[in-house]
Amino acid sequence: MNRETVLELAHISKHFGKLIANDDISLTLGKGELLALLGENGAGKTTLMNVLFGHYTADGGQVSAFGEILPPGKPRAAIEAGIGMVHQHFTLAGNLTVLDNVMIGTERLGLLRSGRKQAAAKLRGLSERFGLQVEPYAFVADLSVGEKQRVEILKALYRDARILILDEPTAVLTQIEAEQLFQTLRGMTDTGLSVIFISHKLAEVMAASDRVVILRGGRTVAEKRTSDTNRAELAELMVGRRVVRPVRTDQAPGRNILSAGKVDIVEDGRKLLDGIDFTVRAGEILGIIGVSGNGQAALGQLTCGLRGADTGTLVYDGNQANGFSPRMLVTSGTGRIPEDRNTEGAIAEMAIWENAVLERIHEKRFSAYGFVNRARCRDYATELIDRFDIRGAAPDTRTGLLSGGNMQKMILGRNLAASPKLIIANQPTRGLDEGAIAAVHAELLAARKDGAAILLISEDLDEVLALSDTIQAIFKGRLSAPLSAEDADSRTVGLMMAGIWETSHAA
C-alpha cells in the first residue's frame, strides 16, 4: 500500500556539547500510518521529536509537513502545520478544568466573550468520535493518569492536529489502559490521521504499529514493516547485540527475614494498607504484583523505613516493631531501591560519590568525628562504577547527568555492594530499556543466590513471573494469599491483580 507522505524529516543532526544525539536521521510518515520509533534510552528518540516539533533547533537537516518546510525552532509553526505532541511528562494545569486546559492558548486575548460553549461542544464531539472519554468540566488534578493522557491527546486534536506524536505514551499506563490507548490510536489512523509513537517496549511496537524505525546511538539502524519482523530481531537491532534476560534457578529458601502481620496504614481515614501479611525468607524473592496506585507506595514507605504501621507489626530478623528507621535498616544490612529514582533514590545536583555514600555516611570508613573522608568516599564510588558498569560516570560527575539505567545501576550498586540480607526493590526496572532490565534482573538473582531475601514490588507481570519464588497480588491495599511460582501463570496472576481472589478467599 502506497501512502501519501504527510511528514518528512531529512538528514536531521543535533548535538549537545560533545554528545551527538541525532546523526543524519531521515524518516517519512504516511497518511493514516501508525509509526513506531523504537530505541533504548539515550538513542535520540525524544531529541528527534523535539526537533520535529520545534522545541530544539537542529544543527542540520529540515522538517517538512504536508509538503511545506517548517521553520526551525518554532513550536507554533508546527502546531499550525497540524502537528500535535503529547509529552511523556504531561503539561497540564491541575487546578484548571479539562476544558480550560484544552482551550488554553487557542483564544485570542482581549475578546469579551469567551467561546467556552462552542469549545465544550467541539471537545465533546472529539471525545465521542475517537472514544476518548473525559468530562470537560472535571478538574485535571482529580483525573487518573490515563485520563490526563486523554486530555493531552484531545488538546492536540482540538488544535486540528493531523499528525500526532506521542513520547513514551505507555510509560505511565497500566496494561489495560495501554491497550485502550492503542485502540484509540488505531481508530484515529483509520480516519486519516497519522501517528508516531516513541517506545522502547517491543511487545507494544509489535502489537500496534504499521512500521517501525529503530534508532541506536543517534542513528537510524533499520526501518521495518512490522509484519515483516519479529520481537527477537527488533530487540537485537535496538540493543545492537543479543539480550537475554537471566533465568531463575530453583533453590531452597532459608530462615524468615522480614514479615508483616496484619499491618494497616491509614491516611485521612482511608486505609492505604489493609491488614496485610507477608513473609520473605533468605534466598527467596517475593513478588508483589499490582496495578499502580493500589497501596504499593505505602508498602514501599513502610518497608523502606519512611513510615510505621498504624496497627500490626513488622518482624525483621527477629526484631519486632511497627516500623524501622532508614538508618537502622541500612546499618542492619538492608538494600533499598526506591520507587522513584529521581526524587527519592538520588539527588540530581550532587556528585555521584555523594549519592553513593549518603545513606551510610555515618559508617567509620566514610567519616570520622563528623568529618567526611572524601578520598575514601571517592574510592568507593570508583569501585561501584567499575563493578556495576555505570557508564559515563566519574566520582565527581553530577548524578543528574546519568541516564535512567545508569542511575539505577548506581542505586543498585550502593545497595548490593554491602551484600545485604534484605533487599526492598520497588519498581526496580520502571522506565529502563532492555539491556538495563537484563542487568538489574541479573543482579537481583545473584543477590538471591547469595542468600538475600528480596521483596520485589512491581507492576510488570513478566518481571514478577520471571523473578519471583512466591507471588502476592496487591489490590486496594490488601494482599492476596501467597501463590508459589509453580502455580503461577499470567492468567491466574492477571486475575489476582484485578482483585479476583477476594471473592474466593474472603472469609
Partner: protein, 349 residues
Amino acid sequence: MRLERRTQSSLALLLAAPVIAIVIALALSGGLIALAGVNPLDAYAAMVKGAFGSRLSISETLTRTTPLILTGLAAAVAFRARLWNIGGEGQLYAGALVAAWLGHNMAAGLPTPLAIILIMLAGMLAGALLLLGPVLLRLRLGVDEVVTTLILNFIVLLFVSMMIEGPLKDPLAFGWPQSVPVDSDVMLPKLLSRSRLHIGLIIAILAAFVIWIVQSRTVFGMETKAAGLNTRAASFAGIKLGRTLLGVACISGGMAGLAGAIEVTGLKGYVTLDLSPGYGYSGIVVAMLAALHPVGVVITALFVAIVFVGADAMSRALGVPSFIADVIVSISLLTMLVSLLFTTYRVRR
C-alpha cells in the same frame, strides 16, 4: 529564544557571574548618576577614592565590611538549606542587646579574654534562639518562616526600643535613648591604632572559613546540602530533616547575633536604634552576590561596604545623593539573580 539547561557549569563561569553582574549594575546606576548631572566615571572614581583613598577610609570600609560578612553568612547558610531567614536584622539586635547588657554588668571579676568570648557566645545564642521559634513553627505547624522572621524584626526593634528607654537606659546619656555602655575592659581590641577598625573583622573572616569547612567537609554539611536540594531523597537516605534545619538555624541566627555583639563591643559600645543601617537585609544581598558561598561572602561584603562608604564620599565631593549606594546594591542583587540563572541555563535561538 529560549533557555536550555547547561549540562555542566564551569568554574570560570561561576566566578565570572558576580563580576559581570556588578559591572552591569554599575553601568545601569551610571545612567542614574548621569541624570543627576555628574559624569559617572568621575563619580565612581570619587567612590573608590572615598573607600580606599586614605588609611582612614580603608579602615572605615573594613569596619563596615565586618557586620556585612556576618549577616551575609547568616543568610548564605540558611538559604543553602532552603531556610528563608529574613530575620537577620532582628537577630543582630538581639545579639547586640544581650552583649550590651552582659558587657555592662559582667566585666568585673572575669579575665578580659574570657569575658569577651562569653559575650560573643551569648550574642550568638540570642540570635540563634530568636530564629529557633520560627523554625519550630515551620516544622510543627508548617508556618512560613519568611513571614515570621520578617515580622520578628519589627517586634525585636520595638523590644530594643523599650529596653533602651527603660530598664537598660543609660542614665548619663542626657535623655538620649541609648543603652548602658559596655565596660571598656571588654571592648574588642583595635586592629589598627587611631582607627575604628577592630578584631571583629578577623573573627568574621574566621567564621566564614569555619562555615566553609563545615559545609564542604563534614557530615552535617553534606546532610544539610542534601536536605536543601531534595527533601524526599534526603529523608529516604535517613537524614532527619528537622534536626538538620534546627542546626542550620543555630548557625544562621548565631552569625547574625554575633554581628550585633561585635558591633556593640567593637565599635559603638552601646545599643541605639540606629546601630544597624539595615545590615540584616544587606546580608541577603551579600549572600546572593556570593552565590551563597561562605568565602565568597567575605568578598561581596567588601564590595557592598565599598559602595556604602564610597557613596558617602562621592556625595560630599560631587553632590550626587548618597542614596545611590542603595540603588547600586539593589540593582546588583537583581543583575546577580539574572546572571545566576545564566550559570545554570544558556540561551538558545
